[in-house]
Symmetry: D2
Amino acid sequence: MIRITIWNEYEHERTIPAIAQVYPEGIHGALKSILSEEKDFEIRCATLEDEDQGLSEEILSNTDVLIWWSHARQDDVTDENVRKVVAHVHAGMGFIALHSAHFSKTFRALMGTPCTLNWRENDSEKLFCILPSHPIAQGVPQCIDLPHEELYGEPFFIPKPDDVIFLGWFAGGAVFRSGCTFTRGLGRIFYFQPGHEEYRNYDIPAVRRILKNAVRWAAPSVRLDSPPDNVRI
Amino acid sequence: MIRITIWNEYEHERTIPAIAQVYPEGIHGALKSILSEEKDFEIRCATLEDEDQGLSEEILSNTDVLIWWSHARQDDVTDENVRKVVAHVHAGMGFIALHSAHFSKTFRALMGTPCTLNWRENDSEKLFCILPSHPIAQGVPQCIDLPHEELYGEPFFIPKPDDVIFLGWFAGGAVFRSGCTFTRGLGRIFYFQPGHEEYRNYDIPAVRRILKNAVRWAAPSVRLDSPPDNVRI
Amino acid sequence: MIRITIWNEYEHERTIPAIAQVYPEGIHGALKSILSEEKDFEIRCATLEDEDQGLSEEILSNTDVLIWWSHARQDDVTDENVRKVVAHVHAGMGFIALHSAHFSKTFRALMGTPCTLNWRENDSEKLFCILPSHPIAQGVPQCIDLPHEELYGEPFFIPKPDDVIFLGWFAGGAVFRSGCTFTRGLGRIFYFQPGHEEYRNYDIPAVRRILKNAVRWAAPSVRLDSPPDNVRI
Amino acid sequence: MIRITIWNEYEHERTIPAIAQVYPEGIHGALKSILSEEKDFEIRCATLEDEDQGLSEEILSNTDVLIWWSHARQDDVTDENVRKVVAHVHAGMGFIALHSAHFSKTFRALMGTPCTLNWRENDSEKLFCILPSHPIAQGVPQCIDLPHEELYGEPFFIPKPDDVIFLGWFAGGAVFRSGCTFTRGLGRIFYFQPGHEEYRNYDIPAVRRILKNAVRWAAPSVRLDSPPDNVRI
């Protein structure tokens, strides 16, 4: 079993009626329903308003892959919880940052860069697979159409990724490294750009496939009790 | 002084009247005129119809940076000349492959990959700089408009570049790693996608700047007489 | 099933009595016996003296992962066979180059670099795992002792690897990127330095584990009938 | 002119008599004397006990390249000062982390990883150049002998470097990525392992050359007033 925790800020879906209509079950609910199609995925959801912000030591130490969606309340996540998530990634926990989580405190702490970008609402995207041999690309077509998606444009100030698997083309005139992997300590990280709250892009079959592939890829092959430390030998 | 050889297949400009009108001096002539603006660049041109196909040992051993444009007659370059160019790159000579030179025998021999791509004539491009701190990007704006350019689209089957400096957005719906660096032996390589023979994109000021920066970046800091060999120590 | 072809030059073991004693079954035989421990590996051996040098289209098109050991007769492999192997890697076949295969025509064609190094016989190695989260490192200790191994030393003129998984420390005073991965077209490549013909280092349990992991990692997730080609879209 | 600030914790040299004898002028003093050999380097020193810990906005905004040595008092640097240094690197300031600065709060914040390693006092090192074409390696021999140096051993939990220029071999049986580059925002970073406080390894001519090369390489080609921000376009 791969133990997944889907962490969602869960703000827009509660406070903006139009978004509540798009995601009545919350973005975490939508993601859960997709990932539940895999028999060996054991899925838990957690949100910012949960006890410990849904990021207790008990939850994290029982999570193989943490999926993270956040936007409006990035800075409400406590520094202590950021440190805990980062420590678990370093110890081997997989981490998948979705869409506006590019600017979450957790993702930025793991990257060490500004993680800033250009953006504009109300655009459309073509997602091109540029590394078809990568496990996350398995069974994914060369190009995925997202008729509605928020534009994210370069320059995206991330460190050089281990692999860039997907490049995004936006009709409004922008390109973006839309699917990138990183290693931090023993943890594998995937950043995936699609997923603006106004559209149900996670439902698109090829996107579902990417999400499932990413979970399998990010699941730890080594998981320590705590991050590596300096060792006198 | 940086000693530059601009090698051009020089076929379209001689045989197709419409192209002859665009580049009456040949693409090599246009490039020479641009690079001649730099006082410390010493420039020679060479073409496929020259003696030794313009790739004699004498020329190559006196070249710091070889610029290469080719398209219709890729396969007419002899295997022996490919081997010579590759050996000089391994020994430290810089190499800049332009546009359709993605499919030259020299570039492919240096990459070890198919170097294939998707393409379509008659499109337009926006060239985004995604690594503004790279020396090749110095003084280059975040986005360069190329109102006319042939579409080159991913997947582009190259090895993972050392750096991707420019990403191309094509109006027709494609993205491309349009400016990439590689190291092979002691030689530095820059692949730059713009430069279809029907348009004078090299004249665009920001493109001129990229070409000049690329030459400085590719000039060898170490140049051996021959490629490195196995050494019993 | 993963279909493996172990290709061995098979020269030293036939012509040098001391080596014949070390590997009476040939290096390919030793590798076959190790990999046969895995129930889903289907293994064939091929050698330079076989028909078509053991590299017929029939063999290659039925191989998921090609393992390659060569040394004394690198240049006897025909250019045509090199082209065939490279094409199959581009189309998705995995390729594992062992020890002195760093200087095989196939590996060099896939790298585009000299692939040269420093060397000296009769040394010992400690193999350090520097990327423990990589699939090839799964279950492998931080350090593997090889009491007898030929010294291979940097500089090793390869392109920047996708990942460096193992670094070798040699008692005689050298370091080496002893385990590296590359992607070429759709094919995954692993270069692994241990395996000098005078010692039975492949028998060491941690090395066996690396070989098995590498086969699983290199097995194609996408396999085309022929390498990618340029496509007019 | 390249404006350099050498920041040194300056603790061992003040509090341990044996170290005070090795570096009577402080490690910063030794570095200053080396870098002062270059006519276009403008050098300032700063230490932890200075006002604002030597990291005032005034100092940082007038620094092109910040060199950092720290060890015993890593955690005494305030989080606010770490944030300031990181912001200046993101805006383009070069950063050179020396030896035990691998575990400084600044370096770790820029890496996003544990930055931990194995270590042991009292060893010797051979420093091998594995990327001789890199600007930092210009004029540097293939191997530099450091008869006395603290052992640092892999696994070193850093992100994949942009380039690994030097690999360290330690007589005691360890290897280390001893010279690595990274890009963070617009800033260029070089980590260089030698420099234990008991030995005067910075005085070694080839090491001097590396330090000078690294400063030139890390000097910003672009420097913003503040880090990049998200931009609505």
